[in-house]
């Protein structure tokens, strides 16, 4: 869930890292660090997109309070 929330930021970070790394202006140490982080981000993002467990719920409002009900089997 956390990764989902950060997905957009993570992807932006990844794009920035790719740009920095391809500029060739970093030292070897910096490059390796950026590369490592880039790989971590790209794996994280891909993993989030590859998830296969979804929830289908119905939004209900009772006395001003929200609750989620599991949807019928045939819907989910």
């Amino acid at each position: 869930m956390k990764d989902k929330e950060n997905f957009e930021d993570d992807l932006k970070k990844l794009q920035k890292i790719v740009e920095e790394l391809s500029s060739g202006k970093l030292t070897l140490g910096e490059s390796l660090k950026k590369y490592e982080e880039g790989i971590r981000l790209s794996q994280g993002c891909s993993q989030v997109l590859g998830e296969a467990q979804r929830k289908v719920e119905l939004l209900m409002k009772k006395d001003g309070k929200f609750s989620l009900e599991k949807a019928d089997e045939d819907l989910a």
């Binding site: 998830e51 979804r54 289908v56 939004l59 949807a71 989910a76």
Partner: protein, 428 residues
């Protein structure tokens, strides 16, 4: 002339009588005319006139009758009204009390649609500038639709197959009938209030223009416009665009298309991620490769002391070999030179002259070679050296030979004679 019936009416009485006459003889009618002087009073009642080229009649449509009206009557509009002709006593005016009103020519709904569209457009509800940006990836989608319709099934099926990461929150509503618009608008509001949603899809499976009417209702259009979350309108319609479509941030032709758009989004993101990873690998390999190359170059430049020693040794070996060669060469040259000197020495040697038949004589007891007969006197013992061996003899007589007087002198000069002899030796 007035006759026997001398009944005198009051104003009210006669008005009442006129009213009854009108009711009795005209009653409820359909009336066609053009609206003018239209006024909507704060009470909710409408007052206007209906006219044609020859006449005009006042009209009133009370709030109870106009409440459900789909379109807004306005001046110049040709309409057909249903109502009864009545008298308004306080003003002494007759008028038609309108119960139903319909625009002539276009359908009421079409007219209502056009009117509302114009009104909402002028308020900016369809402004492209107001459109919200869709999320990069909607992880949680809210769907406003009937939980029993085909639309929700289509969407769920496509998402399940193509993007099973997407969670779905359904806000079930009726999508047609009088309650539909209110429920749809409320559902959009509630999903916004609930908040844990990236995107709202307002959807309905296929239907006629009538079926889709709720999506042209002002309350629905405003709810979509006011939504904080981006809204996709996905109504299965073939021809007409609804006002909900116009207010939504994106509209697609079918519920399936909305779900497919999400799947496509996911796939294009995956492709982009793969591309980014490839770029990362490419860059780091390039960086490492370049460093490796310069390392090799540096290692080459930076020879170890041992390598330098070996190099020097090699140089030394080369020098030594050169030296040997030069020395041998020099010695050979020297040897050749000395050989030639020796051979020349041989030619000059007195012993060599002796071999050609000459001899040397010296007074016994002296080393000097006798070159002049005057050195001798009779009785001197003379030793004569030959090519082979020598002998001693006694001088008997000194012979003076004036013709050869010059010769010893020349011989005394030495080199000339020697040279001539040496020349003879060379001639051989």
């Amino acid at each position: 002339m007035p006759k026997e019936s001398k009944h005198i009416y009051s104003v009210s009485e006669i008005t009442q009588k006129i009213k009854s006459l009108l009711e009795e003889h005209i009653g409820e009618i359909w009336l066609e005319g053009e609206i003018s002087n239209f006024k909507a009073a704060s009470s909710g009642h409408f007052y206007f006139s209906l006219k044609d080229p020859g006449a005009v009649i006042l009209a009133a449509m009370f709030a109870y009758a106009n409440r459900g009206l789909k379109f807004k009557p306005e001046d110049g509009l040709k309409v057909i009204c249903f109502g009864k002709v009545d008298v308004y006593g306080p003003r002494g005016q007759y008028q038609i009390i309108v119960e139903r009103i319909e625009p002539k020519g276009v359908g009421a709904r079409q007219l209502a649609f056009e009117q509302l569209k114009k009104k909402l457009a002028s308020e900016g509800l369809f402004d492209p500038g107001h459109k919200r940006r869709l999320p990069l990836m909607p992880f949680r989608v809210g769907i406003v639709t009937s939980s029993k319709g085909a639309a929700v099934r289509d969407i769920l099926q496509i998402l399940k197959n193509g993007a099973p990461l997407v969670d779905v929150v359904i806000s079930p509503v009726r999508v047609q009938g009088d309650q539909a618009a209110g429920e749809i608008a409320a559902a959009v509001d509630e999903l916004n209030e609930f908040g844990k949603i990236d995107l709202i899809i307002v959807s309905r499976g296929g239907g006629s223009a009538e079926d889709l009417w709720a999506f042209n209702e002002e309350i629905v259009v405003r709810a979509i416009y006011n939504s904080r979350l981006p809204v996709i309108s996905a109504l299965g319609h073939q021809i007409n665009t609804t006002l909900a479509d116009l207010a939504a941030d994106v509209f697609v032709e079918t519920p399936s298309a909305a779900a497919k758009a999400i799947v496509d989004k996911k796939n294009s993101l995956l492709a982009e991620l793969a591309g980014l990873k490839h770029e990362l690998d490419f860059s780091i390999n390039g960086i490492i490769g370049r460093l490796k190359n310069s390392l090799v170059a540096l290692a080459h430049a930076l020879k170890s002391p041992r390598d330098r020693l070996l190099e020097k040794q090699q140089q030394l070996d080369e020098l030594r070999a050169n030296l040997n060669y030069n020395l041998r060469h020099y010695l050979e040259m020297a040897r050749e030179r000395s050989a030639s000197v020796i051979s020349r020495l041989g030619v000059l040697s007195p012993l060599a002259i002796l071999s050609r038949g000459y001899s040397l004589s010296m007074i016994v007891g002296q080393d000097a070679v006798i070159k002049d007969a005057q050195q001798l006197k009779p009785g001197d013992k003379v030793k004569t050296v030959l090519h082979k061996g020598s002998f001693i003899s006694l001088v008997q007589e000194i012979v003076s030979d004036p013709k050869r007087k010059l010769f010893p002198c020349q011989a005394g000069k030495g080199t000339g004679v020697i040279k001539s002899i040496a020349g003879g030796s060379n001639e051989r």
